[in-house]
């Protein structure tokens, strides 16, 4: 029998960083305790893991770090309940458990040679960060065409990964468009909702794939804009976040129709989702 999929790998919290101004999102950096442990956790952008706080429970979070950043895993977590609150209050140096990697990942092989348009909203930018970091790695960058990133938040203080955004802004191999909902003093970037900005940027659908993650309203209104740009359902990739427990297709919780989001997803094309009931 394979490894027991319920047993977490112990990892050490080395950084508990307050990511957003409202303090509701923290980014956690966990360090592998040994090289062997790290080898047992080969992951790809788009996958998630169950993070367990011993004594509280476990919860699934998208992996925000990229496999090109060895030695640690990063998660950005919104404070909503039991496990996420326990994480927020956790002292650096504490041991947590991480179970994974779980789920499928962005289809990096199929994306080779294509232009990639990444659209994110709110704090659902975690696995997108992983994806962007992966693509920007010099040994990968040549495999992909133009990289366009549209990222929106309510206000500048709620954007994640500010240092990286700044770094990406200065590069010529990525087109980054950050936008906020309403004008704020000192903000020189764009203002407007993600769907509107998508319309303005009007990414070409020619030989392109769009990856879109964000709150349901953002997705709902961005879809028609992508369609207007000529994106077909099989050129649009999404990542679902149903409630999960086991993460391995057994506890029966996360299904959309006959697919388990944990085991068969969380990454689906719009074409695949069109075949499934809208229960997500």
């Amino acid at each position: 029998m394979q490894r027991n999929p319920y047993l977490p790998l112990p990892m050490k919290l080395v950084k508990n960083f307050t990511e957003t101004e409202d303090k509701l999102i923290h980014t956690f950096t966990f360090q592998f305790l040994s090289e062997e442990d790290e080898k047992s956790f080969p992951y790809m952008p788009g996958q998630f893991a169950e993070v367990c706080v011993f004594g509280k429970g476990e919860a699934p979070f998208g992996i925000a770090s990229s496999p090109t950043e060895p030695g640690f895993l990063k998660f950005s977590v919104a404070k909503v309940g039991l496990v996420s609150t326990a994480l927020h209050m956790m002292e650096e140096g504490t041991i947590v458990g991480v179970r994974g990697p779980l789920g499928n990942y962005y289809p990096l092989e199929q994306l080779k040679g294509k232009n990639i348009v990444i659209i994110g909203g709110g704090f659902a930018f975690t696995t997108l960060r992983s994806m962007i970091t992966y693509i920007l790695k010099p040994e990968h960058r040549g495999d992909y065409g133009k990289l366009t990133v549209i990222y929106g938040a309510r206000n500048p203080g709620l954007l994640l990964y500010k240092e990286e955004l700044e770094e990406w802004n200065g590069r010529s191999d990525i087109d980054l468009v950050c936008t906020i909902d309403r004008p704020v003093e000192g903000w020189t970037g764009r203002v407007g909702f993600v769907p509107t900005v998508t319309k303005e940027v009007a990414p070409s659908s020619e030989n392109s794939v769009a990856i879109i993650c964000g709150p349901p309203v953002m997705i709902k209104f961005t879809m028609p804009e992508l369609e207007a740009c000529g994106f077909k359902p099989d050129q649009i990739i999404m990542s679902l976040e149903n409630r999960m427990k086991c993460g391995i297709g057994m506890c029966g919780r996360c299904n959309v129709g006959n697919r388990y989001v944990c085991k068969d997803g969380p990454v689906f094309t719009k074409a695949e989702l069109n075949q499934l009931p809208n229960e997500y």
Binding site: C52, F54, G81, G97, M250, N255, K263
Partner: protein, 339 residues
């Protein structure tokens, strides 16, 4: 082979020396599968147990591992149960349900060591149903009162004795270890007679059911099934093929264990997101999920219906919601529901 009824308690005692033996035990007005220490506790005057024997392999509450966390690290201790077991007197429908459950706990990507270890260490001694209940509809679900799927041995009650058939190698080995005598011709004839006369009165027509479910997710028909449902989940807890569970921590400070407990798609919290969004907001979506899962999704994934027709959900539902009627309604035909 044959087991005389008066020899059965002794034989169960003998088994109990080597195995954990589970058998039907009377509990007030109904029967349950319980571990027995002595053969006399078993009572085979049962139609079927109120709760299915799935809990022997997939307990209602089970510790997955215990842990202790110190400044220096963590230690985890797996709690995989490796004891050998015999379920004595399991009904054919329940044996079949375990074959269905195997698909879930040994799926295309992951294996559940807790269930699978118990499963491979468990021998299933079946008891054929000479007198199925009015709520049984196994023959409509690809099973039957003498069905041997999943069993190691099958017993047939012929009055004074049980005629025993070996179904699998495991069963043959067990029969050999117990040195069971041979059945004579008249005993074999009596067993054949019992098989002939066993009748499952209720039939559910499933022709075209899957084809309907393939297309009727948004059909208004789903508005009505849940109307009287209380959302109590008695139907799913007592269903031998339902496998949903929750995982929780039971801990004091840094020492504790991770535990899994049966859960149910009939509960509103089951799918509630951390954000407050819930993809299945009302009883309508939850009832649809229960039916769709058993009669469509499971068929899509494993080419088998996740219902064995045991009738427990019908018997245990406090408001008499009858899955046979629901299925008939979906098909647009008349239900036969003899209770």
């Amino acid at each position: 082979m044959i087991i005389a009824k008066n020899a059965l308690p002794g034989l169960l005692d003998k088994l109990a020396a080597e195995y954990e033996v589970y058998a039907p035990v009377k509990q007030g007005a109904y029967s349950l599968y319980k571990q027995i220490c002595n053969g006399a506790e078993a009572d085979f005057g049962y139609v079927n147990s109120k709760i299915p024997p799935k809990g022997i392999l997939f307990p209602q509450s089970e510790k997955l591992y215990s842990y202790s966390v110190t400044g220096e690290g963590t230690s985890l201790e797996e709690c995989v149960d490796t004891r050998k077991k015999v379920i004595f007197g399991i009904r054919p429908c329940d044996a079949k349900s375990l074959l269905l459950m195997d698909n879930v706990f040994n799926n295309d990507k992951f294996q559940d060591p807790y269930y699978l270890t118990r499963r491979s260490n468990t021998i299933l001694v079946g008891m054929a149903c000479n007198d199925p209940a009015g709520t049984c509809f196994c023959t409509s679900m690809d099973g039957g009162p003498f069905d041997q799927s999943g069993l190691d041995l099958l017993l047939t009650d012929i009055g004074e004795a049980y005629v025993v058939e070996a179904v699998s190698q495991k069963g043959k080995d067990l029969a050999a270890a117990l040195a069971l005598g041979a059945a004579d011709d008249s005993q074999k004839a009596a067993a054949a007679e019992a098989r002939e006369s066993a009748e499952v009165a209720c039939a559910v027509n499933t022709v075209g059911l899957k084809a309907r479910l393939d297309v009727n997710f948004y059909d208004p028909i789903w508005e009505k099934f849940h109307e009287k449902c209380l959302g109590c989940a008695a139907c799913t807890y007592s269903c031998p093929t339902c496998h949903c569970f929750d995982i929780v921590d039971e801990a004091k400070d840094c020492n504790g264990c991770r535990v899994r407990n049966w859960d149910s798609c009939m509960f509103p919290l089951f799918t509630l997101h951390g954000s407050g969004h819930n993809p299945r907001t009302s009883g309508k979506e939850r009832m649809r999920q229960r039916i769709m899962h058993k009669f469509k999704y499971f068929v899509d994934n494993f080419n088998a219906t996740a219902c064995v027709g045991c009738g427990r959900c019908i018997k245990n539902c406090p408001v008499n919601l009858d899955v046979r009627e629901v299925l008939a309604d979906i098909r647009g035909s008349e239900a036969r529901s003899d209770k």
